[in-house]
């Protein structure tokens, strides 16, 4: 069954006993979770907790020491997954190809796999850029874009794939609060429009509670809480509470 023949619009993701160490230092210590079809699942945790490493495992960029990641029951590192399902990732930095302009970046998947003729690719690129609120930037180079624009172009590039699973790595980092809200709204709106399963990794509590259908708290490589946002708020684990309730409390003299 090829990508084109895959009718369902979202996929189920399962992670079993995922462990990963770098130079003997454990980063993931046995992570188990399931993401249901079409939901927005947020993995939240402080910097250095292993969120991005987990995300890289979810799309097959890293091989685990132990455990497995299954997309609709198929191992992510098997040859079948990329052939059967369309997966996409929005990188923290955007990871746009600096040698290509915006239109070439967004249309790269279609042009490299020769899925559509050039005129059609041009139309799709324009549509996707419009969808993320960008018009008339097709000819610009990535170096000419602001951080927020890069993120949006990166989202447009992911949308061109018409993904069944889309992963976002820190989508609001380095953005001002207004732009962060806009990106959060985009994620929810795109999830509603495309029905793609969305996994968002972030340390932004406002974003997480604002967009998540379900969420997980990852602390020092372990999942310490898993559930709906209101359940997470009720979590009594002291480390989770400390993370969720951390605030600026300065005494003014």
């Amino acid at each position: 069954m090829s990508v084109a023949e895959t009718k369902q619009i979202s996929v189920r993701l399962r992670v079993r006993g995922l462990r990963k160490s770098y130079d003997g230092h454990p980063v993931l210590k046995g992570v188990d979770l399931e993401v249901e079809r079409g939901e927005v699942f947020v993995i939240m945790g402080p910097s250095g907790s292993g969120k991005s490493v987990l995300l890289r495992h979810l799309i097959g960029l890293e091989a685990p020491d132990e455990g497995e990641v299954l997309v609709e029951g198929l191992p992510i590192h098997g040859p079948e997954v990329m052939e059967r399902y369309r997966l996409a990732m929005v990188f923290q930095s955007g990871a746009l190809l600096n040698s290509l302009n915006v239109a070439e970046n967004v249309g790269l998947y279609l042009s490299e796999h020769r899925l559509k003729p050039p005129a059609e690719i041009e139309r799709v690129v324009r549509d996707k850029l419009t969808l993320v609120g960008l018009k008339g930037v097709e000819a610009k180079m990535p170096s000419e874009l602001s951080g927020g624009m890069k993120k949006r172009v990166s989202i447009a590039r992911a949308l061109v794939i018409e993904p069944q699973l889309i992963l976002y790595d820190e989508p609001t980092s380095e953005l001002d609060p207004l732009m962060a809200v806009t990106i959060g709204e985009e994620i929810v709106r795109l999830n509603e429009q495309t029905q793609a399963t969305s996994v968002v990794v972030t340390h932004d509590r406002d974003l997480a509670f604002g967009i998540a259908d379900r969420m997980a708290i990852l602390l020092e490589g372990e999942l310490r809480a898993l559930g709906r946002p209101e359940e997470i708020r009720q979590c009594q684990d002291p480390a989770v509470k400390a993370f969720l309730e951390a605030d600026f409390k300065f005494k003014r003299k």
């Binding site: 990329m82 996409a88 990732m89 990188f91 990871a95 190809l97 998947y109 796999h113 590039r157």
Partner: protein, 247 residues
């Protein structure tokens, strides 16, 4: 070191396996060819003109003292096409093009562009390595042809206008024609093709395995150039031995 060599051989094999996709990446190959030619042709010609000239200046007076100055065309002609042009051009291209390949792919690796390609199911070897290795393998032999011709010209100019040598153009070229045969030129082209593959694979490998930030990119560039030159000089010896068997 052995791990590096192993990885480079694997990369070479995967690039070879991707060769049937070469036509699909024709535009990228042309783009790379233009970059290599544009960046190196003028420099290659200037360098070769002076290498030929120096060769004439060094050997001409010695030959002239013994009444053998007529042989100069043959000596310069043979040296340029069999050894100096392929090796000097390979060193030049390793410095100019190999370094830029390693830097470009290395920065793509550091800034997650390679990961982005993988998530789009685009193989970096097909997308980045194949066009570069193909382009450099076509460009270097072409540059060697220009290098040989300008090197011969440089040798001729030095031979004619230096009073200690003072032979005519026709003497120079008639002996060059007498000594150098097409096999000598082909010999140089075969060598340059092999050197080009080495530069392409070594530089792309260094780029693909870059770790760290800007410092890592710098390290990769240095290693790409140094390793390429070392391998070119070692390979030159063995290729010379091998090609002598076919004469």
């Amino acid at each position: 070191m052995f791990q590096n060599i192993g990885e480079m051989l694997v990369l070479f094999w995967r690039t070879l396996k991707a060769l049937p996709l070469a036509f699909r990446h024709g535009q990228k190959v042309l783009g790379q060819l233009f970059e290599i030619g544009n960046a190196s042709l003028f420099m290659a010609c200037v360098l070769s003109l002076f290498i030929g000239g120096v060769l004439s200046l060094q050997s001409g007076p010695v030959l002239a003292e013994r009444g053998l100055s007529n042989l100069l065309g043959g000596i310069v002609g043979m040296s340029m096409c069999r050894e100096l042009a392929p090796v000097m051009m390979a060193v030049l291209i390793a410095g100019r093009i190999g370094s830029s390949m390693a830097a470009e792919i290395g920065s793509m690796r550091v800034y997650q562009e390679l990961d982005a390609l993988r998530t789009m199911n685009i193989n970096p070897i097909h997308y980045l390595v194949l066009p570069r290795v193909l382009a450099i393998s076509l460009a270097l032999p072409a540059l060697v042809v220009f290098s040989v011709l300008t090197g011969w010209l440089g040798g001729a100019l030095a031979a004619v206008y230096n009073p200690k040598i003072a032979i005519t153009f026709s003497t120079y070229y008639s002996y060059l024609d007498l000594v150098v045969d097409p096999w000598d030129v082909i010999n140089g082209l075969i060598k340059s093709f092999c050197f080009a593959v080495v530069i392409g694979v070594v530089s792309c490998h260094q780029g693909l395995t870059t770790i760290g930030g800007p410092r890592g990119i710098g390290r990769s560039v240095t290693k790409a150039v140094v390793n390429s030159i070392v391998l070119i000089l070692i390979l030159d010896y063995f290729l010379t031995q091998l090609l002598l068997h076919f004469e």
